[in-house]
Symmetry: C2
Subunit: 324 residues, 2 copies
Amino acid sequence: VSRSGEFDWISRYLAPLSGPTSFGLKDDAALLDAPDGKAVVVTQDAIAESVHFLPGDPPDQVARKALRVNISDIVAKGAMPFAYSLALGVPDRWQDEDMALFCQGLADDQQQYGLNLSGGDTYRSPAGLTVAVTMFGAVEQDEYKSRIGAVDGDVVVVSGCIGDAALGLKVATGELNCPDTDRAALLRAYRLPDPPAPLAGAVARFASASMDISDGLIGDCRKLCVASSVSAKIDRTAIPLSDPAQRLVEQDQTLWQTIISGGDDYQVLATVAPSRLSAFQICAEQCALSVHPIGVITNGKSGSVTLDIDGDEVSIGDDSFSHF
Amino acid sequence: VSRSGEFDWISRYLAPLSGPTSFGLKDDAALLDAPDGKAVVVTQDAIAESVHFLPGDPPDQVARKALRVNISDIVAKGAMPFAYSLALGVPDRWQDEDMALFCQGLADDQQQYGLNLSGGDTYRSPAGLTVAVTMFGAVEQDEYKSRIGAVDGDVVVVSGCIGDAALGLKVATGELNCPDTDRAALLRAYRLPDPPAPLAGAVARFASASMDISDGLIGDCRKLCVASSVSAKIDRTAIPLSDPAQRLVEQDQTLWQTIISGGDDYQVLATVAPSRLSAFQICAEQCALSVHPIGVITNGKSGSVTLDIDGDEVSIGDDSFSHF
Protein backbone atom coordinates (compact mmCIF):
# COMPACT_ATOMS: atom_id res chain seq x y z
CA VAL A 1 0.00 0.00 0.00
CA SER A 2 1.45 3.32 -1.03
CA ARG A 3 0.31 6.81 -1.84
CA SER A 4 1.73 8.56 -4.87
CA GLY A 5 1.47 12.27 -5.62
CA GLU A 6 -1.49 14.09 -7.04
CA PHE A 7 0.03 14.32 -10.51
CA ASP A 8 0.66 10.59 -10.61
CA TRP A 9 -2.97 10.03 -9.71
CA ILE A 10 -4.14 12.34 -12.44
CA SER A 11 -2.03 10.77 -15.16
CA ARG A 12 -2.57 7.22 -13.94
CA TYR A 13 -6.23 7.16 -13.02
CA LEU A 14 -7.95 10.23 -14.38
CA ALA A 15 -6.27 10.87 -17.73
CA PRO A 16 -7.40 7.51 -19.19
CA LEU A 17 -10.97 8.64 -18.53
CA SER A 18 -10.67 11.87 -20.50
CA GLY A 19 -11.99 12.56 -23.98
CA PRO A 20 -10.23 13.54 -27.20
CA THR A 21 -10.60 17.29 -26.61
CA SER A 22 -9.20 17.23 -23.07
CA PHE A 23 -5.50 16.99 -23.97
CA GLY A 24 -5.00 14.05 -21.65
CA LEU A 25 -5.81 16.34 -18.71
CA LYS A 26 -2.41 17.92 -19.18
CA ASP A 27 -3.75 21.36 -19.98
CA ASP A 28 -5.41 23.97 -17.77
CA ALA A 29 -8.81 23.56 -19.38
CA ALA A 30 -10.70 21.43 -21.87
CA LEU A 31 -12.65 22.18 -25.01
CA LEU A 32 -16.25 21.22 -24.57
CA ASP A 33 -17.12 19.48 -27.78
CA ALA A 34 -19.88 21.93 -28.58
CA PRO A 35 -21.53 20.84 -31.85
CA ASP A 36 -21.44 24.10 -33.82
CA GLY A 37 -20.01 27.60 -33.84
CA LYS A 38 -17.82 28.80 -31.02
CA ALA A 39 -16.31 26.27 -28.70
CA VAL A 40 -17.12 26.38 -25.00
CA VAL A 41 -14.00 26.14 -22.82
CA VAL A 42 -14.49 24.80 -19.30
CA THR A 43 -12.20 24.67 -16.29
CA GLN A 44 -12.78 23.77 -12.64
CA ASP A 45 -10.61 24.72 -9.68
CA ALA A 46 -11.61 24.32 -6.06
CA ILE A 47 -10.17 26.23 -3.11
CA ALA A 48 -10.54 25.02 0.47
CA GLU A 49 -10.05 26.70 3.82
CA SER A 50 -6.70 26.09 5.53
CA VAL A 51 -5.45 24.59 2.26
CA HIS A 52 -5.74 27.44 -0.27
CA PHE A 53 -6.67 30.32 1.99
CA LEU A 54 -6.58 31.18 5.68
CA PRO A 55 -9.61 30.74 7.99
CA GLY A 56 -9.65 34.47 8.75
CA ASP A 57 -9.65 35.63 5.11
CA PRO A 58 -12.72 37.78 4.33
CA PRO A 59 -15.46 35.78 2.50
CA ASP A 60 -15.75 38.32 -0.33
CA GLN A 61 -12.05 37.99 -1.11
CA VAL A 62 -12.29 34.19 -0.98
CA ALA A 63 -15.18 34.33 -3.45
CA ARG A 64 -13.26 36.58 -5.83
CA LYS A 65 -10.13 34.45 -5.54
CA ALA A 66 -12.16 31.33 -6.36
CA LEU A 67 -13.40 32.99 -9.55
CA ARG A 68 -10.09 34.51 -10.53
CA VAL A 69 -7.99 31.36 -10.29
CA ASN A 70 -10.44 29.94 -12.85
CA ILE A 71 -10.63 33.08 -15.00
CA SER A 72 -6.87 32.87 -15.27
CA ASP A 73 -7.10 29.40 -16.81
CA ILE A 74 -9.75 30.47 -19.34
CA VAL A 75 -7.91 33.61 -20.43
CA ALA A 76 -4.65 31.71 -20.90
CA LYS A 77 -6.51 29.49 -23.39
CA GLY A 78 -7.38 32.55 -25.48
CA ALA A 79 -11.03 32.40 -24.38
CA MET A 80 -13.34 34.97 -22.85
CA PRO A 81 -14.96 33.79 -19.60
CA PHE A 82 -18.73 34.24 -19.69
CA ALA A 83 -20.33 32.01 -17.02
CA TYR A 84 -19.53 29.78 -14.08
CA SER A 85 -21.07 27.12 -11.88
CA LEU A 86 -20.48 27.02 -8.13
CA ALA A 87 -20.39 24.13 -5.64
CA LEU A 88 -20.23 25.82 -2.26
CA GLY A 89 -19.36 23.90 0.92
CA VAL A 90 -20.69 26.11 3.69
CA PRO A 91 -19.02 25.99 7.14
CA ASP A 92 -21.32 25.55 10.14
CA ARG A 93 -20.15 28.84 11.62
CA TRP A 94 -21.43 30.90 8.69
CA GLN A 95 -24.23 33.37 9.29
CA ASP A 96 -26.27 35.34 6.76
CA GLU A 97 -23.75 38.16 6.79
CA ASP A 98 -20.95 35.81 5.77
CA MET A 99 -23.00 34.47 2.87
CA ALA A 100 -23.98 37.99 1.86
CA LEU A 101 -20.38 39.14 1.91
CA PHE A 102 -19.31 36.10 -0.09
CA CYS A 103 -21.95 36.82 -2.72
CA GLN A 104 -21.02 40.49 -2.83
CA GLY A 105 -17.56 39.35 -3.82
CA LEU A 106 -19.08 37.19 -6.56
CA ALA A 107 -21.23 40.10 -7.76
CA ASP A 108 -18.28 42.49 -7.88
CA ASP A 109 -16.26 40.15 -10.03
CA GLN A 110 -19.22 39.21 -12.21
CA GLN A 111 -19.48 42.87 -13.13
CA GLN A 112 -15.74 43.30 -13.56
CA TYR A 113 -15.32 40.25 -15.80
CA GLY A 114 -18.73 40.06 -17.50
CA LEU A 115 -19.81 36.76 -15.95
CA ASN A 116 -23.08 35.06 -15.05
CA LEU A 117 -23.61 32.35 -12.47
CA SER A 118 -25.07 29.37 -14.35
CA GLY A 119 -26.01 27.21 -11.38
CA GLY A 120 -24.48 24.89 -8.85
CA ASP A 121 -24.99 23.47 -5.43
CA THR A 122 -24.54 24.30 -1.77
CA TYR A 123 -23.88 21.76 0.96
CA ARG A 124 -22.78 21.56 4.60
CA SER A 125 -19.01 21.54 5.04
CA PRO A 126 -18.35 21.21 8.79
CA ALA A 127 -14.57 21.27 8.25
CA GLY A 128 -14.62 24.72 6.65
CA LEU A 129 -15.41 26.74 3.56
CA THR A 130 -14.85 24.94 0.24
CA VAL A 131 -15.46 26.66 -3.10
CA ALA A 132 -15.42 24.63 -6.34
CA VAL A 133 -15.93 26.83 -9.39
CA THR A 134 -16.49 25.53 -12.92
CA MET A 135 -15.77 28.35 -15.35
CA PHE A 136 -16.88 28.55 -18.98
CA GLY A 137 -15.28 30.57 -21.74
CA ALA A 138 -15.95 31.04 -25.44
CA VAL A 139 -13.36 30.83 -28.19
CA GLU A 140 -13.33 30.35 -31.95
CA GLN A 141 -12.95 26.64 -32.63
CA ASP A 142 -9.42 26.90 -34.05
CA GLU A 143 -8.09 29.52 -31.63
CA TYR A 144 -7.96 27.50 -28.41
CA LYS A 145 -4.39 27.74 -27.10
CA SER A 146 -2.93 24.70 -25.42
CA ARG A 147 0.49 24.16 -23.88
CA ILE A 148 1.48 22.37 -27.06
CA GLY A 149 2.78 24.51 -29.91
CA ALA A 150 5.93 26.29 -28.74
CA VAL A 151 8.73 25.92 -31.33
CA ASP A 152 12.43 26.72 -31.58
CA GLY A 153 12.97 30.48 -31.75
CA ASP A 154 9.66 31.50 -30.16
CA VAL A 155 9.83 34.27 -27.60
CA VAL A 156 8.67 33.45 -24.06
CA VAL A 157 6.43 36.20 -22.66
CA VAL A 158 4.62 36.85 -19.39
CA SER A 159 1.83 39.29 -18.59
CA GLY A 160 1.90 41.64 -15.60
CA CYS A 161 4.48 41.26 -12.83
CA ILE A 162 5.81 38.06 -11.31
CA GLY A 163 6.30 37.14 -7.66
CA ASP A 164 4.11 39.62 -5.78
CA ALA A 165 1.68 36.96 -4.52
CA ALA A 166 4.45 34.65 -3.30
CA LEU A 167 6.11 37.56 -1.49
CA GLY A 168 2.67 38.53 -0.14
CA LEU A 169 2.24 35.10 1.40
CA LYS A 170 5.59 35.52 3.17
CA VAL A 171 4.40 38.90 4.42
CA ALA A 172 1.11 37.35 5.62
CA THR A 173 2.88 34.62 7.56
CA GLY A 174 5.36 37.06 9.10
CA GLU A 175 8.41 35.65 7.29
CA LEU A 176 9.06 38.92 5.49
CA ASN A 177 9.03 42.56 6.57
CA CYS A 178 8.66 45.63 4.39
CA PRO A 179 7.26 49.18 4.53
CA ASP A 180 3.50 49.51 5.05
CA THR A 181 2.57 50.58 1.51
CA ASP A 182 4.57 47.76 -0.05
CA ARG A 183 3.10 45.38 2.51
CA ALA A 184 -0.47 46.27 1.51
CA ALA A 185 0.28 45.85 -2.20
CA LEU A 186 1.91 42.43 -1.74
CA LEU A 187 -0.81 41.13 0.61
CA ARG A 188 -3.41 42.21 -1.92
CA ALA A 189 -1.58 40.37 -4.69
CA TYR A 190 -1.72 37.18 -2.63
CA ARG A 191 -5.35 37.51 -1.56
CA LEU A 192 -6.78 38.85 -4.81
CA PRO A 193 -5.14 37.69 -8.04
CA ASP A 194 -5.55 40.00 -11.04
CA PRO A 195 -5.74 37.76 -14.13
CA PRO A 196 -5.37 39.71 -17.42
CA ALA A 197 -8.83 38.96 -18.83
CA PRO A 198 -8.70 41.51 -21.71
CA LEU A 199 -5.61 39.72 -23.01
CA ALA A 200 -7.65 36.68 -24.16
CA GLY A 201 -8.09 37.95 -27.72
CA ALA A 202 -4.40 38.68 -28.16
CA VAL A 203 -3.47 35.26 -26.78
CA ALA A 204 -5.88 33.65 -29.24
CA ARG A 205 -4.45 35.63 -32.19
CA PHE A 206 -0.73 35.62 -31.50
CA ALA A 207 0.41 32.91 -29.07
CA SER A 208 1.84 29.58 -30.25
CA ALA A 209 1.30 28.04 -26.79
CA SER A 210 -0.09 29.44 -23.55
CA MET A 211 -0.93 28.60 -19.94
CA ASP A 212 -1.49 30.47 -16.73
CA ILE A 213 1.19 30.74 -14.07
CA SER A 214 -0.21 29.30 -10.87
CA ASP A 215 2.53 27.04 -9.49
CA GLY A 216 5.56 29.27 -10.06
CA LEU A 217 7.05 30.79 -13.22
CA ILE A 218 9.91 28.33 -13.75
CA GLY A 219 7.94 25.21 -12.87
CA ASP A 220 5.05 26.20 -15.10
CA CYS A 221 7.46 27.12 -17.90
CA ARG A 222 8.87 23.61 -17.62
CA LYS A 223 5.36 22.15 -17.96
CA LEU A 224 4.83 24.14 -21.16
CA CYS A 225 8.20 22.95 -22.48
CA VAL A 226 7.38 19.32 -21.67
CA ALA A 227 4.05 19.59 -23.49
CA SER A 228 5.72 21.20 -26.53
CA SER A 229 8.86 18.98 -26.40
CA VAL A 230 11.22 21.97 -26.31
CA SER A 231 13.59 23.80 -23.94
CA ALA A 232 13.50 27.37 -22.70
CA LYS A 233 16.18 29.89 -21.78
CA ILE A 234 14.90 32.54 -19.38
CA ASP A 235 16.75 35.80 -18.69
CA ARG A 236 16.27 36.58 -15.01
CA THR A 237 16.90 40.30 -15.49
CA ALA A 238 13.99 40.42 -17.95
CA ILE A 239 11.43 39.05 -15.50
CA PRO A 240 9.03 41.95 -14.79
CA LEU A 241 8.86 42.94 -11.11
CA SER A 242 6.61 45.39 -9.31
CA ASP A 243 8.27 48.26 -7.45
CA PRO A 244 7.76 46.58 -4.03
CA ALA A 245 9.25 43.32 -5.33
CA GLN A 246 12.14 45.24 -6.90
CA ARG A 247 12.90 46.97 -3.59
CA LEU A 248 12.78 43.70 -1.65
CA VAL A 249 14.99 41.75 -4.01
CA GLU A 250 17.57 44.54 -4.06
CA GLN A 251 17.94 44.11 -0.31
CA ASP A 252 17.85 40.30 -0.38
CA GLN A 253 18.85 38.46 -3.55
CA THR A 254 17.67 35.11 -2.12
CA LEU A 255 14.07 36.32 -2.62
CA TRP A 256 14.52 35.59 -6.35
CA GLN A 257 13.76 31.99 -5.47
CA THR A 258 10.39 33.01 -4.01
CA ILE A 259 9.65 35.20 -7.01
CA ILE A 260 10.31 32.63 -9.72
CA SER A 261 8.99 29.53 -7.96
CA GLY A 262 6.48 30.75 -5.37
CA GLY A 263 3.31 30.53 -7.44
CA ASP A 264 -0.12 32.20 -7.22
CA ASP A 265 0.76 34.68 -9.98
CA TYR A 266 -2.28 33.95 -12.19
CA GLN A 267 -0.68 35.74 -15.10
CA VAL A 268 -0.30 34.41 -18.64
CA LEU A 269 2.83 32.56 -19.76
CA ALA A 270 2.85 32.34 -23.55
CA THR A 271 5.17 31.73 -26.47
CA VAL A 272 5.06 33.90 -29.60
CA ALA A 273 6.86 33.81 -32.93
CA PRO A 274 9.42 36.69 -33.02
CA SER A 275 7.64 38.25 -36.00
CA ARG A 276 4.39 38.51 -34.01
CA LEU A 277 5.82 39.81 -30.73
CA SER A 278 5.35 43.51 -31.39
CA ALA A 279 1.76 42.99 -32.57
CA PHE A 280 1.07 41.00 -29.38
CA GLN A 281 2.53 43.78 -27.26
CA ILE A 282 0.58 46.49 -29.07
CA CYS A 283 -2.65 44.51 -28.55
CA ALA A 284 -1.86 44.24 -24.84
CA GLU A 285 -1.12 47.94 -24.55
CA GLN A 286 -4.45 48.73 -26.21
CA CYS A 287 -6.17 47.08 -23.26
CA ALA A 288 -3.84 48.74 -20.75
CA LEU A 289 -1.92 45.54 -20.04
CA SER A 290 1.73 44.70 -20.45
CA VAL A 291 3.44 41.60 -21.77
CA HIS A 292 7.20 41.23 -21.42
CA PRO A 293 9.60 38.97 -23.30
CA ILE A 294 11.63 36.99 -20.76
CA GLY A 295 13.37 34.35 -22.85
CA VAL A 296 13.43 32.09 -25.88
CA ILE A 297 12.38 28.57 -26.82
CA THR A 298 15.15 26.26 -28.10
CA ASN A 299 15.35 22.75 -29.48
CA GLY A 300 17.01 21.34 -26.37
CA LYS A 301 16.02 18.50 -24.07
CA SER A 302 12.24 18.40 -23.63
CA GLY A 303 11.25 20.30 -20.50
CA SER A 304 14.68 21.72 -19.77
CA VAL A 305 14.62 25.30 -18.47
CA THR A 306 17.82 27.33 -18.19
CA LEU A 307 17.96 30.52 -16.17
CA ASP A 308 20.45 33.22 -17.16
CA ILE A 309 21.55 34.93 -13.94
CA ASP A 310 23.82 37.88 -14.73
CA GLY A 311 25.61 35.89 -17.42
CA ASP A 312 25.73 32.57 -15.57
CA GLU A 313 23.48 29.92 -17.09
CA VAL A 314 21.84 27.75 -14.43
CA SER A 315 20.09 24.62 -15.63
CA ILE A 316 16.91 23.87 -13.74
CA GLY A 317 16.00 20.25 -14.31
CA ASP A 318 13.21 18.07 -13.04
CA ASP A 319 15.13 16.73 -10.09
CA SER A 320 16.89 19.85 -8.98
CA PHE A 321 13.84 22.07 -9.10
CA SER A 322 12.42 21.25 -5.71
CA HIS A 323 15.83 22.04 -4.17
CA PHE A 324 16.46 25.14 -6.20
CA VAL B 1 -27.18 37.86 13.40
CA SER B 2 -29.21 34.95 12.07
CA ARG B 3 -28.84 32.05 9.72
CA SER B 4 -31.60 31.29 7.24
CA GLY B 5 -31.97 28.07 5.27
CA GLU B 6 -30.07 27.05 2.20
CA PHE B 7 -33.00 27.83 -0.10
CA ASP B 8 -33.33 31.33 1.32
CA TRP B 9 -29.66 31.86 0.66
CA ILE B 10 -29.97 30.72 -2.92
CA SER B 11 -32.94 32.91 -3.72
CA ARG B 12 -31.66 35.86 -1.74
CA TYR B 13 -27.98 35.91 -2.58
CA LEU B 14 -27.26 33.63 -5.50
CA ALA B 15 -30.29 34.01 -7.77
CA PRO B 16 -29.71 37.74 -8.35
CA LEU B 17 -26.32 36.79 -9.76
CA SER B 18 -27.69 34.37 -12.35
CA GLY B 19 -28.08 34.96 -16.07
CA PRO B 20 -31.15 34.96 -18.32
CA THR B 21 -30.83 31.27 -19.23
CA SER B 22 -30.52 30.03 -15.64
CA PHE B 23 -34.21 30.30 -14.68
CA GLY B 24 -33.38 32.26 -11.56
CA LEU B 25 -31.56 29.19 -10.22
CA LYS B 26 -34.96 27.63 -9.62
CA ASP B 27 -34.40 24.77 -12.03
CA ASP B 28 -32.17 21.70 -11.81
CA ALA B 29 -29.81 22.88 -14.53
CA ALA B 30 -29.00 25.84 -16.71
CA LEU B 31 -28.70 26.31 -20.43
CA LEU B 32 -25.24 27.34 -21.34
CA ASP B 33 -25.73 30.10 -23.85
CA ALA B 34 -23.79 28.29 -26.54
CA PRO B 35 -23.68 30.51 -29.63
CA ASP B 36 -24.88 28.07 -32.32
CA GLY B 37 -26.42 24.68 -32.85
CA LYS B 38 -27.23 22.46 -29.92
CA ALA B 39 -27.36 23.96 -26.49
CA VAL B 40 -25.02 22.69 -23.78
CA VAL B 41 -26.84 21.96 -20.52
CA VAL B 42 -24.76 22.09 -17.35
CA THR B 43 -25.49 21.03 -13.77
CA GLN B 44 -23.29 20.72 -10.69
CA ASP B 45 -24.00 18.67 -7.57
CA ALA B 46 -21.48 17.92 -4.85
CA ILE B 47 -21.62 15.05 -2.39
CA ALA B 48 -19.63 15.02 0.84
CA GLU B 49 -18.71 12.28 3.30
CA SER B 50 -20.93 12.03 6.38
CA VAL B 51 -23.37 14.42 4.71
CA HIS B 52 -24.47 12.60 1.53
CA PHE B 53 -22.85 9.23 2.05
CA LEU B 54 -21.38 7.19 4.88
CA PRO B 55 -17.61 7.07 5.63
CA GLY B 56 -17.58 3.32 5.00
CA ASP B 57 -19.26 3.43 1.58
CA PRO B 58 -17.03 1.89 -1.14
CA PRO B 59 -15.21 4.59 -3.21
CA ASP B 60 -16.42 3.19 -6.54
CA GLN B 61 -20.04 3.47 -5.46
CA VAL B 62 -19.46 7.02 -4.19
CA ALA B 63 -17.97 7.92 -7.57
CA ARG B 64 -20.91 6.47 -9.45
CA LYS B 65 -23.42 8.12 -7.14
CA ALA B 66 -21.69 11.49 -7.68
CA LEU B 67 -22.13 11.06 -11.44
CA ARG B 68 -25.65 9.71 -11.31
CA VAL B 69 -27.16 12.44 -9.14
CA ASN B 70 -25.97 14.81 -11.89
CA ILE B 71 -27.01 12.59 -14.81
CA SER B 72 -30.48 12.59 -13.32
CA ASP B 73 -30.66 16.39 -13.56
CA ILE B 74 -29.48 16.42 -17.17
CA VAL B 75 -31.86 13.69 -18.33
CA ALA B 76 -34.83 15.39 -16.68
CA LYS B 77 -34.07 18.44 -18.83
CA GLY B 78 -34.46 16.31 -21.96
CA ALA B 79 -30.69 16.38 -22.57
CA MET B 80 -28.16 13.63 -23.19
CA PRO B 81 -25.20 13.80 -20.79
CA PHE B 82 -21.88 13.68 -22.66
CA ALA B 83 -19.11 15.00 -20.40
CA TYR B 84 -18.36 16.07 -16.84
CA SER B 85 -15.80 17.95 -14.82
CA LEU B 86 -14.67 16.76 -11.39
CA ALA B 87 -13.43 18.63 -8.31
CA LEU B 88 -12.23 15.93 -5.97
CA GLY B 89 -11.42 16.61 -2.31
CA VAL B 90 -9.21 13.69 -1.31
CA PRO B 91 -9.17 12.54 2.34
CA ASP B 92 -5.76 12.14 3.99
CA ARG B 93 -6.42 8.46 4.65
CA TRP B 94 -6.75 7.60 0.95
CA GLN B 95 -4.17 5.29 -0.61
CA ASP B 96 -3.61 4.45 -4.28
CA GLU B 97 -6.08 1.59 -4.07
CA ASP B 98 -8.85 3.91 -2.91
CA MET B 99 -8.20 6.30 -5.77
CA ALA B 100 -8.04 3.40 -8.23
CA LEU B 101 -11.34 2.02 -6.98
CA PHE B 102 -12.92 5.47 -7.17
CA CYS B 103 -11.77 5.87 -10.77
CA GLN B 104 -12.96 2.39 -11.67
CA GLY B 105 -16.41 3.52 -10.60
CA LEU B 106 -16.07 6.56 -12.84
CA ALA B 107 -14.91 4.41 -15.74
CA ASP B 108 -17.79 1.97 -15.35
CA ASP B 109 -20.36 4.73 -15.48
CA GLN B 110 -18.59 6.58 -18.29
CA GLN B 111 -19.06 3.46 -20.38
CA GLN B 112 -22.63 2.92 -19.24
CA TYR B 113 -23.75 6.48 -19.92
CA GLY B 114 -21.43 7.50 -22.77
CA LEU B 115 -19.50 10.15 -20.85
CA ASN B 116 -16.04 11.70 -20.99
CA LEU B 117 -14.22 13.46 -18.16
CA SER B 118 -13.49 16.97 -19.40
CA GLY B 119 -11.17 18.08 -16.61
CA GLY B 120 -11.24 19.31 -13.06
CA ASP B 121 -9.17 19.55 -9.94
CA THR B 122 -8.03 17.53 -6.96
CA TYR B 123 -7.21 18.98 -3.55
CA ARG B 124 -6.58 17.87 0.03
CA SER B 125 -9.74 17.43 2.07
CA PRO B 126 -8.67 16.46 5.61
CA ALA B 127 -12.29 16.27 6.79
CA GLY B 128 -13.24 13.55 4.29
CA LEU B 129 -14.06 12.75 0.69
CA THR B 130 -15.86 15.51 -1.24
CA VAL B 131 -16.93 15.04 -4.86
CA ALA B 132 -18.22 18.02 -6.87
CA VAL B 133 -19.29 17.00 -10.37
CA THR B 134 -20.22 19.43 -13.12
CA MET B 135 -22.18 17.55 -15.78
CA PHE B 136 -22.78 18.66 -19.36
CA GLY B 137 -25.59 17.56 -21.64
CA ALA B 138 -26.63 18.39 -25.18
CA VAL B 139 -30.15 19.31 -26.27
CA GLU B 140 -31.78 21.00 -29.26
CA GLN B 141 -32.12 24.67 -28.42
CA ASP B 142 -35.93 24.61 -28.17
CA GLU B 143 -36.27 21.25 -26.42
CA TYR B 144 -34.82 22.06 -23.01
CA LYS B 145 -37.47 21.14 -20.43
CA SER B 146 -37.80 23.34 -17.38
CA ARG B 147 -40.14 23.07 -14.40
CA ILE B 148 -42.26 25.74 -16.03
CA GLY B 149 -44.86 24.58 -18.57
CA ALA B 150 -47.31 22.26 -16.79
CA VAL B 151 -50.91 23.26 -17.60
CA ASP B 152 -54.40 22.31 -16.45
CA GLY B 153 -55.26 18.79 -17.60
CA ASP B 154 -51.68 17.57 -18.05
CA VAL B 155 -50.94 14.10 -16.76
CA VAL B 156 -48.28 13.78 -14.04
CA VAL B 157 -45.90 10.90 -14.76
CA VAL B 158 -42.89 9.34 -13.03
CA SER B 159 -40.24 7.00 -14.38
CA GLY B 160 -39.19 3.79 -12.64
CA CYS B 161 -40.27 3.02 -9.06
CA ILE B 162 -40.52 5.44 -6.15
CA GLY B 163 -39.30 5.06 -2.59
CA ASP B 164 -36.71 2.27 -2.79
CA ALA B 165 -33.78 4.53 -1.93
CA ALA B 166 -35.54 6.09 1.07
CA LEU B 167 -36.46 2.62 2.34
CA GLY B 168 -32.87 1.53 1.66
CA LEU B 169 -31.51 4.29 3.89
CA LYS B 170 -33.79 3.06 6.69
CA VAL B 171 -32.44 -0.44 6.10
CA ALA B 172 -28.84 0.86 6.17
CA THR B 173 -29.37 2.66 9.48
CA GLY B 174 -31.13 -0.35 11.03
CA GLU B 175 -34.52 1.34 11.34
CA LEU B 176 -36.15 -1.16 9.03
CA ASN B 177 -35.95 -4.94 8.71
CA CYS B 178 -36.84 -7.10 5.72
CA PRO B 179 -35.82 -10.38 4.05
CA ASP B 180 -32.24 -10.55 2.73
CA THR B 181 -33.03 -10.34 -1.00
CA ASP B 182 -35.28 -7.31 -0.49
CA ARG B 183 -32.67 -5.82 1.79
CA ALA B 184 -29.96 -6.04 -0.89
CA ALA B 185 -32.21 -4.49 -3.54
CA LEU B 186 -33.20 -1.56 -1.31
CA LEU B 187 -29.63 -0.89 -0.13
CA ARG B 188 -28.49 -0.88 -3.72
CA ALA B 189 -31.19 1.63 -4.64
CA TYR B 190 -29.90 3.95 -1.92
CA ARG B 191 -26.21 3.56 -2.73
CA LEU B 192 -26.47 3.47 -6.51
CA PRO B 193 -29.25 5.53 -8.10
CA ASP B 194 -30.39 4.38 -11.55
CA PRO B 195 -31.39 7.51 -13.49
CA PRO B 196 -33.32 6.75 -16.71
CA ALA B 197 -30.78 8.18 -19.17
CA PRO B 198 -32.36 6.77 -22.35
CA LEU B 199 -35.55 8.63 -21.51
CA ALA B 200 -33.98 12.02 -22.36
CA GLY B 201 -35.24 12.04 -25.93
CA ALA B 202 -38.81 11.21 -24.94
CA VAL B 203 -38.76 13.91 -22.24
CA ALA B 204 -37.54 16.41 -24.82
CA ARG B 205 -40.26 15.43 -27.31
CA PHE B 206 -43.31 14.91 -25.10
CA ALA B 207 -43.05 16.57 -21.68
CA SER B 208 -44.56 19.98 -20.94
CA ALA B 209 -42.45 20.32 -17.76
CA SER B 210 -39.89 18.05 -16.13
CA MET B 211 -37.49 17.72 -13.20
CA ASP B 212 -35.73 14.94 -11.38
CA ILE B 213 -36.99 13.59 -8.07
CA SER B 214 -34.21 13.99 -5.53
CA ASP B 215 -35.89 15.44 -2.43
CA GLY B 216 -39.03 13.30 -2.32
CA LEU B 217 -41.88 12.82 -4.80
CA ILE B 218 -44.48 15.08 -3.19
CA GLY B 219 -42.07 17.87 -2.28
CA ASP B 220 -40.54 17.90 -5.73
CA CYS B 221 -44.00 17.78 -7.34
CA ARG B 222 -44.86 20.88 -5.31
CA LYS B 223 -41.74 22.64 -6.65
CA LEU B 224 -42.82 21.87 -10.22
CA CYS B 225 -46.33 23.16 -9.47
CA VAL B 226 -44.95 26.37 -7.95
CA ALA B 227 -42.78 26.97 -11.02
CA SER B 228 -45.74 26.33 -13.35
CA SER B 229 -48.33 28.15 -11.14
CA VAL B 230 -50.62 25.12 -11.02
CA SER B 231 -51.85 22.45 -8.59
CA ALA B 232 -51.53 18.67 -8.77
CA LYS B 233 -53.75 15.80 -7.67
CA ILE B 234 -51.77 12.62 -7.07
CA ASP B 235 -53.38 9.18 -6.78
CA ARG B 236 -51.42 7.26 -4.16
CA THR B 237 -52.49 3.87 -5.51
CA ALA B 238 -50.96 4.79 -8.90
CA ILE B 239 -47.47 5.46 -7.51
CA PRO B 240 -45.26 2.68 -8.93
CA LEU B 241 -43.57 0.55 -6.26
CA SER B 242 -40.97 -2.19 -6.54
CA ASP B 243 -41.88 -5.61 -5.22
CA PRO B 244 -39.79 -5.15 -2.03
CA ALA B 245 -41.43 -1.76 -1.37
CA GLN B 246 -44.86 -3.26 -2.05
CA ARG B 247 -44.24 -6.04 0.47
CA LEU B 248 -43.01 -3.61 3.12
CA VAL B 249 -45.87 -1.14 2.75
CA GLU B 250 -48.43 -3.93 2.92
CA GLN B 251 -47.07 -4.79 6.36
CA ASP B 252 -46.71 -1.20 7.53
CA GLN B 253 -48.85 1.52 5.90
CA THR B 254 -46.89 4.28 7.69
CA LEU B 255 -43.99 3.57 5.30
CA TRP B 256 -45.96 5.44 2.62
CA GLN B 257 -44.61 8.61 4.22
CA THR B 258 -41.03 7.43 3.63
CA ILE B 259 -41.86 6.43 0.06
CA ILE B 260 -43.43 9.69 -1.07
CA SER B 261 -41.23 12.12 0.86
CA GLY B 262 -37.96 10.29 1.52
CA GLY B 263 -35.97 11.41 -1.54
CA ASP B 264 -32.94 10.04 -3.39
CA ASP B 265 -35.13 8.55 -6.15
CA TYR B 266 -33.31 10.21 -9.08
CA GLN B 267 -36.17 9.38 -11.40
CA VAL B 268 -37.97 11.77 -13.75
CA LEU B 269 -41.10 13.64 -12.70
CA ALA B 270 -42.76 15.10 -15.79
CA THR B 271 -46.08 16.46 -17.02
CA VAL B 272 -47.52 15.47 -20.39
CA ALA B 273 -50.59 16.53 -22.36
CA PRO B 274 -53.14 13.64 -22.26
CA SER B 275 -52.97 13.30 -26.06
CA ARG B 276 -49.22 12.66 -25.89
CA LEU B 277 -49.19 10.23 -22.95
CA SER B 278 -49.34 7.00 -24.93
CA ALA B 279 -46.61 8.15 -27.33
CA PHE B 280 -44.43 9.03 -24.31
CA GLN B 281 -45.04 5.59 -22.81
CA ILE B 282 -44.29 3.79 -26.08
CA CYS B 283 -41.02 5.72 -26.41
CA ALA B 284 -40.09 4.70 -22.87
CA GLU B 285 -40.91 1.06 -23.54
CA GLN B 286 -38.71 1.13 -26.64
CA CYS B 287 -35.75 1.82 -24.39
CA ALA B 288 -36.88 -0.74 -21.80
CA LEU B 289 -38.03 1.89 -19.32
CA SER B 290 -41.42 2.55 -17.78
CA VAL B 291 -43.27 5.77 -17.12
CA HIS B 292 -46.44 5.71 -15.05
CA PRO B 293 -49.23 8.28 -14.81
CA ILE B 294 -49.79 9.14 -11.14
CA GLY B 295 -52.06 12.18 -11.25
CA VAL B 296 -53.24 15.31 -13.02
CA ILE B 297 -52.42 19.00 -13.11
CA THR B 298 -55.26 21.38 -12.22
CA ASN B 299 -55.76 25.13 -12.11
CA GLY B 300 -55.80 25.30 -8.33
CA LYS B 301 -53.67 27.27 -5.91
CA SER B 302 -50.09 27.49 -7.16
CA GLY B 303 -47.98 24.78 -5.59
CA SER B 304 -50.85 22.92 -3.94
CA VAL B 305 -50.52 19.13 -4.06
CA THR B 306 -53.43 16.89 -3.10
CA LEU B 307 -52.93 13.21 -2.41
CA ASP B 308 -55.82 10.81 -3.03
CA ILE B 309 -55.52 8.06 -0.42
CA ASP B 310 -58.15 5.38 -1.07
CA GLY B 311 -60.79 7.98 -1.89
CA ASP B 312 -59.80 10.50 0.82
CA GLU B 313 -58.24 13.64 -0.57
CA VAL B 314 -55.43 14.92 1.66
CA SER B 315 -54.13 18.40 0.91
CA ILE B 316 -50.40 18.71 1.34
CA GLY B 317 -49.54 22.38 1.63
CA ASP B 318 -46.31 24.23 2.19
CA ASP B 319 -46.65 24.40 5.94
CA SER B 320 -48.01 20.97 6.65
CA PHE B 321 -45.52 19.11 4.51
CA SER B 322 -42.71 18.83 7.01
CA HIS B 323 -45.18 17.35 9.54
CA PHE B 324 -46.86 14.99 7.11
